[in-house]
């Protein structure tokens, strides 16, 4: 009995050691490798070209960050592995150590800060309304009683709900299973508007058969800081990542990266997203911070 208890205590002790905050820098140094979490299809932020190749604005920022980390650690060679993640699994995968740095399109909010940490904000997303150019709709109040499309599993669903509650406007929400599906709802006339992150709307319009048929209208419905995600309670790694990004912000490299991914033609089809950086994003570059979404709403 005593032996069983001892064994149990030993197991518990090991478990509690494993639960200690991990030192990602040490892990990278010891293993000579690092795992980057990427998305299959998050607009120009993070997407795949097939064949296990991942590119995008956040992916390129992370590659530069990891190059700086490699220099800091004095490693001759750093093996970067790419691990595709989804909205559902990205936080657990960062917590359990499968992914060391997530470079996708994750909103930094207070609820998530309880589970993970975020690098300084690299992009501030604005939730906008896309409509057909000939619809005559110019603001959100004209959508009263109309069908409004958005995508299941996104914060825009909650944004719409809050807006309805606050203004008394009544939308008939239709939910697409993914962004392409929601855009199809708008295209086929089943929905009169598509409410979603501006970058995603711009990307979908750019890819449409006739981009001139659609336009973004009305006010910004919600502002969300999008950031690179890392493990919580790992100050050394956070400092390393933040310093690298802040240097890019200071040198203006980040604006060049933005222009490369959002204003120039990008692979695979060499079309342009055509979205200049918005004022909130420029402000985040000028004064680097990792404030959650809730702090933006207070302004």
């Amino acid at each position: 009995m005593k032996k069983t208890l001892l064994a149990l205590a030993a197991v518990l002790a090991t478990a509690s050691v494993m639960a200690q905050p991990t030192d990602t820098l040490k892990k990278i140094k010891d293993s000579g490798s690092v795992t980057m979490g990427v998305r299959e299809s998050s607009g120009a932020l993070s997407y795949t070209l097939g064949d296990g190749k991942y590119v995008g604005y956040h992916v390129e920022i992370c590659q530069k960050v990891l190059a700086d980390v490699q220099k800091q650690l004095g490693l001759a060679k750093l093996d970067v592995k790419y691990q595709p993640v989804t909205s559902q699994n990205r936080i657990p995968l960062v917590q359990n150590g499968t992914v060391d740095i997530e470079c996708g399109s994750t909103t930094n909010n207070a609820a998530r800060q309880k589970d993970v940490a975020f690098a300084v904000t690299t992009f501030v997303e604005e939730v906008r309304i896309a409509v057909k150019a000939n619809s005559g709709i110019t603001n959100i109040n004209q959508l009263n009683g109309k069908n409004v499309a958005t995508t299941t599993g996104t914060t825009s669903v909650q944004t719409l709900r809050k807006h309805e509650r606050a203004t008394g406007v009544d939308f008939k929400e239709v939910f697409g299973k993914d962004h392409a599906d929601s855009f199809l709802l708008l295209e086929s006339g089943r929905a009169d508007a598509f409410v979603m992150d501006g970058a995603i709307l711009a990307g979908n319009i750019a890819k449409a058969k006739n981009p001139a048929d659609f336009k973004l209208v009305g006010e910004v419905l919600s502002v969300e800081p999008i950031a690179i995600m890392i493990r919580k309670d790992d100050p050394a790694f956070k400092t390393a990542v933040d310093d690298s990004i802040k240097a890019m912000m200071k040198s203006g490299d980040i604006a060049k990266l933005w222009s490369k991914w959002f204003e120039q033609p990008i692979p695979p089809s060499n079309t342009k997203v055509g979205m200049p950086a918005n004022d909130n994003t420029k402000a985040a570059w000028a004064t680097p911070n990792d404030k959650p979404m809730e702090d933006y709403a207070k302004k």
Binding site: Q88, A111, D115, T152, Q158, V174, F175, D181, S188
Partner: protein, 246 residues
């Protein structure tokens, strides 16, 4: 992993504040309210689709065992059409493609379209089981019925079907449980059932594990209740000594 937080279901869906009593008041709803309403949608889609599937499936299954070549052909085409196309593709066809071809369908709510899609898909599978049930009976029964002067419909009604339906209750039970799980495809066409609730609520609350566990439990409970009802019916209708009895 961090600790459990089951309080998440007591939060309201606007501000994320925990509500006393766990249910929302005055038009506001909590995630628990939403979960229950999503369960209601899942059950409504499943049960209506099941009803449609049983009626159509029995009819088509019977068609395929009749001597009429036309009816057999209709039954074969129906079965192969609806069971050879993936369910999700069928749902998308009902929602996006058919209304483009037949404009009046546009005015139908997506709930109705998904009941049709799921009902027709399952009817093909049920038709196959009903056909197998009828064909499992000795041919002599059909001939005996006809020889006694019963018409073909009477032979089915009084000789073949009473036994065949008892024989196929076990596979129909699996099918009825399956339809509840298959109803998850309804999320693709904007029906706010359990799967859609899970995807949306985990995003809003960041408590994916709790949300998915709760939804899993509700699917399990729904399917097991259907299973118990079917077993009850199976025992109620069994005739000792008859095929399908014990």
């Amino acid at each position: 992993m961090s600790t459990w937080d089951w309080q998440v279901f007591c939060k309201d869906t606007i501000e994320g504040e925990i509500q006393p009593g766990c249910f929302g008041k005055g038009g506001d709803i909590t995630y628990l309210d939403w979960l229950l309403s999503a369960w209601g949608w899942t059950l409504s889609v499943s049960l209506l689709a099941l009803l449609l599937a049983l009626v159509l499936g029995a009819l088509i299954g019977i068609f395929r065992t009749t001597p009429s070549k036309t009816l057999v052909a209709i039954g074969n085409v129906w079965t192969e059409l609806f069971r050879n196309i993936p369910l999700l593709v069928q749902v998308v066809l009902w929602y996006h493609v058919l209304p483009a071809l037949i404009p009046p369908l546009k005015s139908l709510p997506s709930f109705v379209l998904v009941v049709f899609a799921l009902g027709f898909f399952t009817s093909a599978r049920i038709a196959e089981q009903v056909r197998a049930g009828i064909q499992s009976l000795p041919k002599g029964q059909r001939y005996a019925g006809l020889a006694m002067g019963l018409t073909l419909p009477q032979t089915y009604r009084y000789v073949l079907l009473p036994v065949a339906f008892r024989v196929v209750i076990p596979p129909l039970t699996s099918e009825s449980m399956g339809i509840i799980k298959n109803s998850a495809v309804a999320f693709a066409v904007s029906v706010s059932e359990l799967t859609m609730f899970a995807m949306q609520a985990q995003e809003e609350t960041s408590r994916g594990i709790e949300v998915y566990l709760a939804v899993t439990a509700l699917y399990f409970v729904s399917a097991i209740v259907v299973n118990r009802i079917a077993i009850f019916i199976e025992h109620k209708v069994q005739v000792p000594g008859m095929a399908g009895g014990h």
